[in-house]
Symmetry: C2
Subunit: 109 residues, 2 copies
């Protein structure tokens, strides 16, 4: 997994990890709180967070005994730019975007 884009895209390929990123859009969160909504062990979530962190999509800061997870949206920029080279997408249509997000949230994000 040498190229940074490898790490970014493969991190994004997992629905649990995308859901975590979506949660972190709201606010920074502790690992335990990130894990809470998922039907999965804490250790599994900890691994997912490690993958997101190594991909640069989040950062984690230890403060006391809790480790705070913070979204790092800039890391998505390169991946986003790479994709823009295909299709010459027009600036995102916000209506379509709203509809898309709605369908996303009713699913799993």
């Amino acid at each position: 997994m040498s190229h940074p884009l490898d790490a970014a895209f493969s991190a994004l390929a997992d629905p649990t990890r995308r859901a975590i990123l979506t949660m972190l859009l709201e606010d920074d969160m502790a690992v335990t709180d990130v894990a809470e909504p998922f039907d999965m062990s804490l250790a599994a979530i900890s691994k997912h967070l490690g993958i997101l962190s190594r991909a640069g999509l989040i950062t984690q800061e230890q403060r006391g005994r809790v480790k705070w997870c913070k979204l790092e949206p800039d890391a998505l920029r390169d991946a986003s730019i790479w994709m823009q080279s295909f299709g010459q997408f027009e600036a995102v249509n916000l209506d379509a975007f709203e509809r898309f997000l709605a369908s996303e949230l009713s699913d799993d994000g």
Copy 2:
């Protein structure tokens, strides 16, 4: 791999597949021609093309004994839109884009 975004992102996670997509930006290509620059068996490339096809990123049309591969850039739209929800990227800076593409092409894309 239920969610369409799973397929798209995990297809994009492999550098060989990203390179293939970049090649297809130029023109439609036959499977053998896609395989030519890679140090890898034809069967391996055929599998990669299958993955790209199942992810909707390309389509393949059989014509005679050659199967033509065609980029399907619209499939990148959803993934692109998903990413836009993070970071509220400003409209892509074209200078940065040029620099990025240059560094990409000198690497492996």
